[in-house]
């Protein structure tokens, strides 16, 4: 009996794959046949990220390395431009950044030649910026980590920093 069990054990040992599927979750916008005009949004509330076919980043019309993207996105979202956001720590009040986190939109556009790796890196950094802001707020408000919060508190913090990432359809941005 032990022999049979051993045999089966070895079979399952060999066939088993332990990898858990994980990744970045995103939601696509629904398909629209007719062109819908986007609602007017103030230029300062949009954080534009362009990625070209050579995997270079142009953020708010400035060349940027991927390492700096997270910090730049955080500064932009956490800006508190109109003073209505009492939990924002980034009291920069920069006239070119967002008026408050609820209005802040990150607009991402990539070239058809952008590599998937870079695209994921950008998505990851933008998600990381929001996650860090949420984490910081959770620490300040509740003194616990965001992932240990209850459902309600978590929702509240999510609403404080809503993740608004808009993706434009890719174009040829040229070189």
């Amino acid at each position: 009996m032990a022999d049979i069990a051993f045999l089966l054990l070895i079979f399952f040992l060999v066939t088993t794959t332990m990898d858990v599927d994980s990744g970045i979750n995103r939601k696509l916008p629904p398909w629209n046949d007719e062109q819908v005009d986007p609602p007017p949004i103030k230029e300062k509330n949009i954080f534009t990220v362009l990625v070209n076919s050579k995997d270079q980043l142009l953020v708010e019309e400035e060349y940027m390395d991927i390492e700096q993207l997270r910090g730049a996105a955080k500064r932009f979202v956490n800006n508190n431009g109109d003073g209505s956001c009492d939990y924002c720590t980034g009291a920069l009040r920069s006239p070119t950044s967002s008026v408050n986190p609820e209005k802040a939109i990150i607009s991402l556009q990539n070239d058809r030649g952008t590599s998937y790796e870079t695209y994921i890196a950008v998505q990851n950094e933008l998600a990381a910026a929001y996650n860090e802001l949420r984490e910081e707020l959770a620490q300040r408000r509740y003194g616990v980590s965001y992932k240990d919060l209850g459902e309600e508190a978590r929702k509240e913090i999510q609403e404080a920093y809503p993740q608004k990432i808009s993706e434009a359809e890719p174009v040829s941005l040229g070189n």
């Binding site: 051993f6 066939t15 994980s22 979750n25 390492e67 070239d111 058809r112």
Partner: protein, 160 residues
């Protein structure tokens, strides 16, 4: 009373193996439960990009996979070396994606259909043009939950 002989010392008693089958069975059940059989044979290269902000995919039955990458060496003669889409066990074109996800959605019971997720397992060298085409097809199929499959790891720094 010769029956109660004093134990003669010397030499530790051997370890009992009576519990060995139990241990083996325990391990066997563990591996039986955790094992996941590979459902498809990969025909494309699949070196997933790294990311840190990842979430686990739950409810495997609601997930449909789309593999994208360069064909493996043995298929290059057949389909060329440009990145291709693989659905189930076969290479496919962009316009097949829509049908594939709709068929997959039909198999899920009605209440859970909105929860259906498509997981894109793309190679890190794939260009975004192809991924965007897939995304457009998914939008047309009205399957809007998407997951970009990644490995855990720092994004920048070593490109290994």
């Amino acid at each position: 009373m010769a029956k109660f002989k004093k134990k003669t010392g010397g030499g530790a008693p051997g370890i009992s193996t009576a519990s060995l089958p139990d241990i083996v069975f325990m391990l066997l059940f563990f591996f039986m439960v955790t094992t996941v059989m590979r459902e498809v044979t990969l025909k494309v290269e699949n070196k997933k990009p790294k990311a840190t902000e990842i979430k686990k995919l739950e409810r495997k039955s609601l997930v449909t996979y789309i593999y994208v990458g360069k064909p493996k060496a043995q298929y290059i003669a057949q389909v060329g070396s440009e990145p291709r889409i693989q659905l189930n066990d076969a290479f496919a074109r962009v316009k097949d994606v829509q049908n594939h996800v709709i068929t997959a959605r039909e198999e899920i019971n009605e209440a859970e259909r909105p929860l259906m997720t498509v997981s894109i397992k793309a190679d890190s060298e794939v260009k975004m043009g192809l991924i965007s085409d897939i995304k457009q097809e998914l939008r047309k199929a009205n399957t809007l939950k998407l997951n970009y499959s990644t490995r855990k790891g720092e994004v920048y720094g070593d490109k290994g």
